[in-house]
Structure formats: C-alpha cells, structure tokens
C-alpha cells in the first residue's frame, strides 16, 4: 500500500529578486528537517530566480513534468510553489499532502490561508463572489474558484490536463466590449472580411449595451487568478486549507502611528486590569 511518502514532488521557491527573506530561509530549513524526520524523502528543493513571475511559475511546472529535461524520468506527482516572502509551518508539506491525497482526493490544487499584502489584508479566498472574502483560519478546507499563488500545492496531473505551457499568464480582463470585438474579428477572419452580424439591429443594441457596461480602463487578471480561471474551466477542483496558515513577509515602515496604536492598546489593557472595559 502506497503512502504520501511514496509520492515524488518538487518544493519550488520563487524569488523575483534572486534572494529570499531570512524568515523564508528559516522556514524552509525547518520544513526540510521535518520532512526528513517523517520520511518525506522523495522531495526536490530548489530556489528559482524568475525575472517574470509568470514564466518562473511555468518553468517550475515544466521541471516538475520533466525533472531531467530529457523525458527520461517520470513527472513528479506534485509541485509545491512557495513565494520567497512567505513564512510557513514546518509541517506545511505534510499537511498539504494529507489534504490533497487523503482528505480531498478530488483536489487538483490546494492553497494555504494567506493574507493579501494590501490593506485590509483579506485572505486570498474567493468562493464565488469574484472578490477576496472575509474568512478566518480554522474554517477547514473549503472549495474556492480562485486563490493566490503565494503558497499552493498542485498535482502535476492538473497541468497535463490543461495541455502544454503556458499555464500562468497575466491577461486583460474580459468585458462585453472586448468580447464583441473578438467576435467581430473572428467573423471577419472566417467570413471573407465581413461580419454579417453587424447588419442586424440587435448587434448595434448589444454593442451600445457593451459600451455602457464596460469599464473605460482595461483591467488585468494576474497570473494566479488567470491560472485558477483555467482550472475552473477544466473542471479541476481548487481548495484553500484555512487550517494551514502562511505569512507574508513585507517591509514595514515603523511610524509614529504604530507607537500611538501600541500605547493605546497598552492603556486599554491597563484599564481592563482595573475592571474598565
């Protein structure tokens, strides 16, 4: 009977600067030691320097699918991508493998509970609202339509199902006007330069409605959201394990406001100690 220890995989760090944070180094060392202790030996660890995050992610997947680069070795079973500014528990991999291969066997991708860097630091969990939602650690493993790529484990079968690279690409967000332009161009390419739909009054109506409902400025979809959109279109279940919390290391400018906040908190505590809440 095989166990998760029999699975082969790739822990890939992505660094866009070429360096990793001290916090990340410490977490990675601890995790590697932990993995050795519990018998998770079939793991390749590598820190990848990528100038562009999307091509770096693709390169990691390509390596996971063809570890020697000559198709002489079977693809890994899984790939764990972690950003170089993450912090995570030592049993991160163990927990994710348990989730992906024991508790949520249908999962194609499982992300961790991670806060967005920007205020108000919502967790990167979208269960269908199209926005990052209010969720908290301890909610279990929940199905999502989208999460971030800060730290996620994907079964390599996911990428095989999607087809060849690229898997991670930033794209311009779709809107009605863009969609109609696409249709218009598609028609002209295949109907001798003509779009007969334009002759119908409904086309003009739809075009006017599209103009009204399309934002003036184009918005982009990040490589992570774009990837999860593709997962969804391929019927690949994506989850976030909210019990596995990863941190986001960031530079913070300590300002007087931080001191003020700390002092107020301290005063509130002192008053609470006197029975004033």
């Amino acid at each position: 009977m095989s166990t998760i220890a029999d699975l082969r995989g790739y822990v890939a760090t992505i660094s866009l600067t070429g360096s990793v944070t001290p916090q990340y180094s410490s977490c990675l060392m601890n995790m590697a030691r932990y993995n050795d202790r519990v018998g998770l030996h079939k793991v390749e660890y590598k820190i990848n320097h990528g100038v562009l995050v999307e091509s770096a992610r693709d390169a990691i997947v390509a390596h996971a699918l063809d570890p020697r680069g000559d198709r002489s070795e079977a693809p890994y079973d899984w790939v764990l991508q972690i950003d170089a500014d993450a912090t995570f528990p030592e049993n991160l991999l163990h927990l994710l493998l348990d989730e992906a291969y024991i508790h949520r066997k249908d999962a194609g991708v499982i992300g961790t509970y991670a806060q967005h860097k920007n205020h108000p630091h919502l967790p990167t969990i979208d269960t269908g609202t199209g926005t990052w939602e209010e969720h908290y650690p301890g909610e279990g493993t929940i199905p999502v339509i989208r999460t971030g790529c800060h730290c996620f484990l994907a079964k390599t079968g996911v990428f095989m199902k999607m087809g060849p690279a690229p898997w991670f690409r930033t794209r311009i967000a779709q809107n009605p006007l863009r969609a109609m332009r696409e249709v218009d161009g598609h028609a002209r390419r295949h109907l001798a330069g003509q779009n007969p739909l334009r002759d119908h009054p409904e086309w003009a109506t739809l075009l006017e409605a599209a103009r009204q409902h399309s934002p003036l400025a184009e918005s982009t979809v990040g490589e992570d959201s774009s990837f999860f959109d593709r997962c969804r279109s391929h019927g690949i279940p994506v989850y976030v394990a909210t019990d596995i919390v990863t941190g986001h290391v960031t530079n913070k400018v300590i300002q007087p406001a931080d001191f003020v906040d700390a002092l107020r908190k301290s005063r509130t505590m002192q008053r609470a100690a006197l029975g004033v809440y």
């Binding site: 005063r267 002192q270 008053r271 006197l274 029975g275 004033v276």
Partner: protein, 359 residues
C-alpha cells in the same frame, strides 16, 4: 465680576485631605481691595507698579494685550509662587478672575494627581464666532493636535469630560509645588521664544518649562466652568444665570445615565500599580453610568456610593477576560467616587454639542 468670582471661590469644595487658603495680588484698585477685604483672604500681596504699556483691553469682539502686559502678569503670578513656596504650601491653584467655577472643580483636579492639572473650559475667542476652544493645548503655542492625538480626538475627549495629557494650559490650574521647586515658573519669561501672538503669553513660559522638567500636565474636562470673556457674559444677569447653573444642588447618588467621575487604584498587582503611578489619567475614569463598561462589582458599588466615598472592591475577572493573566483571578482595587453630575454639556460647549430639539 470680582464679587461673582469670589462667591464661586468661596463655594469651592475642598478635598478631604487638603485645606484651602486664598491669596491675591492687589493691583491697586481700591474699590476692588475693599471687596477683597470682606472676603478675608489669607494673603493679599501689595500692588507693584504696572508699566504704562501693560494694558489689558476687553474689546467688543476679543481681548487685547501687549508683551508688557504678560511680563507684568507673569511677575505677579511668580510672586504668588514665591509666597506659596516660602509658606510651605503643597499646591497652588491659579484661577483667573474672569471664571466662575462649579464647586467640585478643585476636587476633580486634585483627584487627577497630575503635577499640573488644568481644568478645561471652553471659549469662543471671537465674540459669537468660531467653535469653542479649550484653554489647553497639545502643541505650542495653541495647537489642538499632538502627543499622538488628532485635533478631533483631543477635543472629543475633553468634551466627554476625560482627563488627558496636554503640554500646556492655564487660567485654572492646580500645580504641585514640587514642580515649581523643580524649576517651573512664570517669571522671568523665557527668552528666545518666537515673537508675536500667543507665544508671548506667560502660560507658554510656564508650559515649556514644565515640559523640560518632565511634569505631567493634564487637561481635565470634568468641571463646568463659565468664562466671562465677552462683555455680554460679564453682565450681572449673565453671571447670576451662570452661577445658578454651576451651583445647583447635585444628587448624592448616581443613577443610570448620569455622568460619573471615578478613580480606581490597584491594591494588589504591584507591577500594574507601578505602571499606573506614572499615568494619572489612567486611574481616572469618566463616563455615563450604564454607558461605561465597568466590571459588575464596580458598577454595583458606584450605585451605592456617595461622592467622595472610597471603597475597596474585589474584582473577579471572568474566564473570557481580555487579559489572559487575569482570567479567573480576583484582585482588590480602591474605588473612589469623585463626583456625579446629571447628563449635560459644559457651558458654551452645549451650543455646539447639542443643538437641541428645535434645531
């Protein structure tokens, strides 16, 4: 004005552990001296010649003064300080002669235990215009933001009758003589200060020196004080009306909805007691009974107590208390009910805090 002022001083309630004596500086007006003699102060310092240009004018819209005015005023205040130190008083309570104080003012300041405690009153400096401002500040010469507070936080806290730190104040100030012995003074005025406007006031010299000697200066928003600043506020009718409100009998037992002023001191937790010892405003609690979130033992005690009463109260900290170290613990604290007042706003402040049902 002087008679109304003296009536207000005479009505001041004195802290249980204090005695109060009165001292004045005679400015040479014989008519006023006659009124003072009836009042029988402990001391009236003889007049000093006032320089010709040391005028103080009360105009229709605001007041006017010169640098020489402040120099003279600072000197007179300093004479009172020198007298207090020589006679071994522990505190001096400076009260400007255009104020009417509610009787519990001194007790409120006393209970803050600040080195320098300023009773807050609110004034529209331009007659009929502008929002009322307190006579204490957070940045020199008269800024309402500082010490980590935005202007709205500072003014909002004072309007809710809180005790908070400030870096300067004046006109109604209780000063620990120890602070004066450490070098805080009114006169001579500090040299090298910016010229013009409020920088020239003797209060700035006093406040800046207090900062230099690390005195804890507080602004106390509890007392109701009437500032007879504009001519229409100095009429006998206006003064009588204000005094009727300030001196109205107060209830001796708190009801839900009343404003209450408490002090709470830890009796057991040495670390906490030590940390609070340097932060007088932390031990002062003000708010509306029922609106303040007090431990139930404190609330029950307050409902039974009379102003001035002290009581040891055993607090039980429930299992969900915000401080883990206190959960399921008991601690004894000393509770003092300093004052009770019906819900309402300070004079002048009421005009902007509660426009009324007709607004």
């Amino acid at each position: 004005m002087l008679a109304a002022y003296l009536r207000s001083l005479r009505a001041l309630q004195v802290p249980q552990d204090a005695e109060l004596e009165f001292g004045f500086v005679h400015d040479g007006d014989e008519q006023q001296l006659a009124i003072l003699r009836i009042f029988q102060p402990t001391v009236t310092l003889p007049p000093e010649p006032r320089p010709a240009d040391a005028a103080y004018g009360i105009g229709k819209d605001t007041h006017h003064w010169t640098v020489s005015t402040f120099e003279h005023l600072a000197r007179q205040k300093q004479r009172l300080i020198e007298y207090a130190i020589a006679e071994h008083y522990t505190h001096i309570f400076f009260v400007d002669s255009d104020l009417l104080l509610e009787p519990t003012t001194l007790i409120s300041l006393w209970e803050t235990k600040g080195d320098i405690a300023n009773a807050v009153f609110w004034t529209r400096w331009q007659n009929g215009a502008g929002i009322p401002q307190p006579q204490c500040w957070l940045s020199h010469p008269y800024g309402m933001a500082g010490l980590g507070m935005e202007e709205h936080e500072f003014l909002g806290s004072l309007s809710k009758r809180q005790v908070i730190r400030c870096i300067g104040g004046g006109a109604c100030t209780l000063v620990d003589v120890a602070a004066l012995q450490r070098g805080v003074r009114y006169h001579p005025l500090l040299s090298g200060m910016p010229q013009g406007g409020m920088w020239e006031g003797e209060d700035r010299t006093f406040a800046i020196l207090a900062q230099r000697t690390h005195e804890r200066q507080l602004a106390d928003g509890w007392p109701d004080i009437f500032h007879a600043y504009h001519p229409h506020q100095r009429t006998q009718e206006a003064l009588d009306e204000a005094w009727a409100v300030l001196s109205a009998p107060r209830q001796v037992q708190a009801n839900y909805g009343d404003h209450i002023s408490l002090t709470i001191e830890p009796m057991e937790d040495a670390g906490l007691a030590e940390s609070l010892a340097t932060k007088p405003e932390l031990r002062c609690v003000r708010g509306r009974l029922g609106g303040l979130e007090l431990a139930p033992e404190l609330e029950a005690a307050v409902l039974e107590m009379k102003p001035g009463e002290e009581r040891l109260v055993e607090l039980y900290y429930p299992p969900w208390h915000s401080l883990p170290a206190y959960r399921n613990q008991k601690r004894i604290v000393k509770l003092k009910l300093v004052d009770i007042r019906p819900y309402g706003f300070a004079p002048v402040l009421a005009e902007v805090s509660f426009a009324g049902l007709d607004a």
